[in-house]
């Protein structure tokens, strides 16, 4: 939900005389400054038996998805409310169950250091844009960034995936953060024109 949509909602609520003011106040605070579920604690990480990812869509509260399968380098992440996200080396290549889904139609394995620019034939849903060319480009940003993970700050290298869909003249720049051991720890991706940015923190076991 965008900020603009939120404001009338809050206005409506505050005009009601039988509503507890603290509930919207807490939510608005979390909406702008982050929810408790946005951060994974070291304890939660060690308690988990399986690999999982913490996904935050736009400003909404984050939720955990578990790694269900790995098939030909495609990781299949599943949530308990029916959302499935497929990643290829961290790049979201297909989703099921989101408000707006995608299938980028990428069949080759992605490697940020060696994959050259290529074009796939993919689809966007909601509204449907079927089998349209999508160009992909991968860049090393040559920059480092500090990110907070499991309660401490770590240094990461930043890489970028550029998407361009010529039929609708839409493009996005997505960022991937690798720790010094070359493990992908976070991505920030805009995958659909009508979806807000998706942040994923990866916790592979």
């Amino acid at each position: 939900m965008t900020k603009v949509n939120m404001l009338p909602a809050v206005f409506l609520i505050s005009s009601c005389n039988s509503f507890v003011l603290t509930d919207p106040a807490i939510y608005i605070n979390d909406y702008f400054f982050g929810f408790e579920s946005d951060n994974v604690s070291a304890q939660a990480y060690s308690d988990s038996e399986y690999s999982f990812a913490n996904i935050k869509i736009g400003r909404g509260p984050a939720a955990n998805v578990v790694l269900a399968y790995v098939n030909d380098g495609i990781y299949e992440w599943r949530s308990n409310d029916g959302i499935t996200i497929y990643t290829n080396n961290g790049v979201i290549v297909k989703t099921l169950g989101l408000e707006k889904d995608i299938n980028y139609g990428i069949v080759k394995s992605i490697n940020f250091s060696s994959t050259e620019a290529f074009t796939s034939t993919g689809s966007l849903y909601g509204p449907d844009l079927i089998k349209t060319p999508i160009t992909h480009n991968f860049l090393n940003m040559d920059e480092v960034k500090l990110i907070e993970r499991l309660g401490e700050e770590i240094i990461t290298n930043v890489l970028m995936h550029e998407i361009y869909i010529p039929s609708i003249k839409w493009s996005a720049k997505n960022y991937f953060y690798y720790d010094l051991n070359n493990n992908l720890v976070r991505s920030e991706q805009k995958i659909h024109p009508n979806l807000p940015k998706i942040r994923i923190d990866f916790f592979i076991k």
């Binding site: 603009v4 949509n5 909602a9 005389n17 844009l129 039929s167 839409w170």
Partner: protein, 716 residues
Amino acid sequence: MKSKLFIFFTFLGFFNSGVLASSFDYIYPNQKPMFSNYGTVGLLSNPSARFHEEGTIGFTWNRMQPYFRGSIIAYPFSWFEASYQYVDINNELYSDIFEFSGNQSLKDKSFDGKFRLLKETNILPALALGFRDAAGTGLFSSEYLVGSKQFNNFDITLGIGWGMLSNNSIRNPLGYINDSFDGEREATKGTEGGEFSFDRFFRGEAGIFGGIEYRLPYLNGARIVIEKDGVDYSKEGYSRVKQKDDINFGFVYPVTNNFQLKLGYVRGNTLNIGFSYVGNYSNKNPFFKKNDPPKPIPKNKADLIKIINKDNDRYIYRTALKNLADNQIYLQSANIADDRKSIKVAYSQAKFMSYPQVTGRASMILDQILPENFSTFELIHLNANLGSHSIEIDRSKYIRYKDNNLPNTVIQKENIKNIKYRSKDFAFNPKAELPEFLYRFGPALRTQIGGPDGFFFGDIRLAFIGEYIVKKNLTITASASQGIFNNMAELKLGSDSVLPHVRSDIVKYLKQSQDFAIDNLKINYFMQPRKDLFTKITAGYLEQMFGGIGSEVLYRPIDKNWAVGAEVWDVQRRKFNGFFGFKDYRTITGHLNFLYFEPNSGVLFSSKFGKFLAKDSGVHVNFARIFDNGARIGAFATVTDVSREEFGEGSFDKGFYFFIPIQSFFTNYSTGYTGFGLRPITRDGGAMISNEFDLWGVTHSGSYYNHLKNWDDLYD
């Protein structure tokens, strides 16, 4: 000029004709229709045949000198647009009497309606019939028949109008059918308004209007609008407005799909700005997916509980009590059948609007704690200790269809039974620690809009809402508030009503209770004498203006979609200061009530026949569209034996409202509504006591049709 425009748009049309249908929505996003300067969907001055989705509620504001117009628009159905407007008319004073209204400009209220006659197809345009200012003072009154057709990124509108929409005049085509349509259109300016002027509709000259919306590619859905203005400004409003040119131009930019900004140049001499916001509040989760799952018992613990519960009824009762409470479902009574194959559980809750959702969560817990020999759960949902129905859940079906989320195979109509709940029929009745005191604080806003003293008066208050539960069916409820900030000082309009001042002294109530006020303080006693029959007695300070005692009885077969009832109140007027005193006026008021819910359209019709607070007699009718998520859009009217002259401005009591479930705005489930209701003018005729916990409302969630509507929530 006009031929150049034609060439320009033709060029743009060819330029864009190659856009694929599948990519269209991405190149031209945010396609929701725009609002006209008259507050309804249209172009700039002209209406169009476009509609928003049903369940949409919108707000618009427009400045087009000499008019500032604010509108509330609602779509109870996909084929009906209703709007209510306040218009500030800058070139006219509210009245000629300075002592009455000072320098305030004139304010006008109006109601518009539009009906879709035809949905757009590949060949045919959308067609709509509309009425502007249909029940107001008639300053902007007009009727129209309009068609809209989309060609690629062009949306073309063409229509014929009557009344103020007869600028480009032609002979009234209805005159070919009947000469009476050709006659003069009677003026209504200066009347008290408030009534539909059916004898004026479609009379007099007609006029042609039209325009084009051109959507700009790759610009977030922005559009250019050009129209041939259909409004005859020589007839509109009180004072003539100059029109230099009848071609209007505009640019609309959707910031989001719901929020639009508008800039226009109209009449060849006037800059026009405006914005609009719309939201569809009829969806179950209009903004957020819910993140409030049930809390099952961990499997290893549940297995252990099942073993312990195998031969011990007491443990079953206690573990059900505890684990249901963890899901905010509060067990009130339970009974295990002698053959230990079924359990009957009665519970109350205040978290979920959807009863099937509670049924599902209660079944989940019972399934986790009960030994395998239990095959049936009989669940009774209590509200105000009234148990109107029971639902029988087949445990094996509940488990079998859970993973595939097929709730409709779990239950049939015969599984829902009308009952009369009596706690003495149950073996286990946990003792609640009563009395219990519940309370909360929240903001409150009292308003007075559109009077001669000023357009808006507001009183921001801190409200206290408390409930003292003496017994399960006996509560004392209270609402009090403390003023924080208000601008009521300038509010001074007194009542000129010739009827007893049962409502029209609203200004005195608002002004004299600015500090602390007890809004209500009352005792409520609910009973269910027999199956399908419910009663209530309420006594105390019932509302802001009246106190007294009253009773309501409702016969509502829970498997039917109708109810009949009666209510009677012996009430006395409260003093203006919001404390405990009473004024002299006392009356007995009462009604026979009939309610009918039409399940296919979701329309609730209710009527009250009887004697009203000002001792007038008549009928009150109320129509509401109720959406699946509980949101409702409705309107009401009351006609009694007082004459139009006795009633005063507005002619009869009427108004509209919309309510939205609070949980629509959050990721958690909750009960309660927020909303807005408006009576264009507060008069004394047709006034009723505010019956806060009416029995239809108390029993509605338990009705068969409400279950059916929400049955998909069983596994949520």
